[in-house]
Symmetry: D2
Subunit: 144 residues, 4 copies
C-alpha cells in the first residue's frame, strides 16, 4: 500500500466534475508508438488547472506575481486508452479536497465521451524560496 498524501479516486463519470477544458493534441506530443507520450499528460493537467483558476477569478499568473506558487507534491496518472494526434481531449477537473496546507485535484480525460485516462495531483502553496505556506482561504473553503 502506498503511504502517500494522495487519497482521491477519480470518478469515471464526467458529470462528477464541475469544470472542463478542451485541448487539441499536438503532433509534437506524440511518440514513436504513434500515441501521446505518457509524460505529456501532465502539462494537459496543468493547463487545465490554470484555466480553472482563471475561471474562479484567481489567475495563477497573478498569484505568482504575489510570490506564491503551487508546488506539485505528487501526481498519479492511469492510462486507459491512448490519445492520438489531433484528437480533442476534454480534461474534466474537480478540486477533490483541501486542507490548510495542501489540496488535491482529480481529473478525467475523455475524447468524444470515451474515457482515456484518470489522474490526481496533490499541491501545496510555497513562497518563491519554496517555503510551504498556508493555502489562501478561498481555496480551503472551496475544497471543504
Amino acid at each position: 500500500m502506498l503511504r502517500v498524501r494522495l487519497t482521491v479516486e477519480p470518478s469515471l463519470d464526467a458529470t462528477d466534475y464541475p469544470f472542463n477544458h478542451r485541448i487539441r493534441v499536438r503532433f509534437a506530443e506524440t511518440d514513436a508508438m504513434g500515441i501521446v507520450h505518457h509524460s505529456r499528460y501532465l502539462p494537459y493537467l496543468e493547463e487545465t488547472r490554470v484555466a480553472y483558476l482563471r475561471h474562479l477569478g484567481h489567475p495563477y499568473a497573478e498569484m505568482r506575481s504575489d510570490g506564491v506558487d503551487y508546488a506539485v507534491l505528487e501526481c498519479f496518472v492511469q492510462y486507459r486508452q491512448p490519445l492520438r494526434f489531433d484528437e480533442e481531449v476534454d480534461v474534466h477537473l474537480r478540486l477533490a479536497s483541501a486542507t490548510r496546507t495542501s489540496f488535491q485535484m482529480a481529473y478525467l480525460l475523455t475524447v468524444d465521451e470515451v474515457v482515456k485516462a484518470t489522474a490526481v495531483t496533490v499541491h501545496g502553496c510555497v513562497t518563491a524560496a519554496r517555503r510551504p505556506i498556508r493555502l489562501p482561504q478561498w481555496l480551503i473553503d472551496l475544497g471543504s
Copy 2:
C-alpha cells in the same frame, strides 16, 4: 483509497535498488519556478528503464523491432525536494514485481545522496496494434 494496479512503495534507501543511472539536468527541463518541471521526471524514469533493459541484455529498441512495446499503464511520482539545472541526478531503479501481464518499477531519485523524489510505473506488454500480450518469460522470472 485508490483502486489501482500500483501497489509498490518505493524505498528511500538507495541500497534497495540494484540499478542506477545518472542524468544531468538540462536547462530546457527547468521551468519559471527555477526548478525541473514535474512532467520532466517521467522521461528520466523512461531513460533509466531503457538503460536497465540494455544492461540486462534485452534492449528496448530490439523488442520494438520485434513488434513488442512496453505500454505505460500507470505512473506515480512523489516530489520531495526540487531538482535544479545542471544537477546530476542518480535514478535508482528496481523491478518491484511482475505478473504474466504487467510489471512494476520503483524509483528513487537522489542528488549527492540526498533524496529528491520517488516514483512507481506500471507497465504491460502490447503489440504494435496495442493488443495486450504476455510478458516475456525472462521478465516474469526477474520480477518473481
Copy 3:
C-alpha cells in the same frame, strides 16, 4: 552566407499574413529564465501549420493516414522579445513559396500586436518510408 533552401524573409507586418492562430503559453513551456524556452516555439509553429491545413480543408491527420508526411527540412527562428507564461500569442502564418518538391512557411509571433519573433520553416513531402515525393497540386498552386 548560408547555402540553404530557406530564402524567405518574414514580414513584421501582421497584415501580410493571411492566417492567424492563437496559442496561450503553458507554464510547462517556460524555463528558469522565466520565459518561454526557445525550443518551444517550434511546436507553436507546427500547431499553427496544422490549424492552417485544417482551415484549407486539407487536414494533416488525413494526409498522414494516406501515408504522406510533411518533413521539416529547415527551420529558422529570430527571437526579438521573450514570451511569458499565460500570454496569448498570435502566430501569423503565410505560405511563402512552393516548388514541386518543397515549400516555405513564414511566421510572425505577436502578443497584443507587439512583435515577439519571426520564423521560417522549409518542408518537403515524404512517404512513410521517408522517400521524397511531389507536393500535392493544391499546395503547389497555393504557393505560386
Copy 4:
C-alpha cells in the same frame, strides 16, 4: 535573402569542430513519424553548449548565479537525415564568431560519422532583467 545576424555556414567535416558531446536519443523525444521531433534538436544543442562551457572552465550555472544569461537571439537547423530512438548522436560544436555583443555557435550532428544535421545559434549576454550587456572578455577572445 534573410537579414539576420546569423552568417555562419556550418562545415560538414567533423574535424572542423574542436568540441564534441555525445547524447543518446530518448524515447520521449521521438514523434509519431518514428523519428526525433525537429524541436528536440534545440535542447541537444543547448546541452552541448553547456558541456562546452564547463569544458572551458566557465560553467553556465556559475554565470547564471552571477546574474548573467546567454539569451538565444536566433537559431537555424538543417535536417538532413532523421535521428532515431536510442541512437548515440555526436554533437560537434565550434564557436564560430564573437563580437562585443553577440556570438555564434556552429554545430554538426552525426551518428556513426554519418551527417544528420547542421545548425547555428546566435547568442547575446543579458542581465536577469534581460538587458543586453557586453560579452565576458574570455569569450570575445575565444571567438576572435
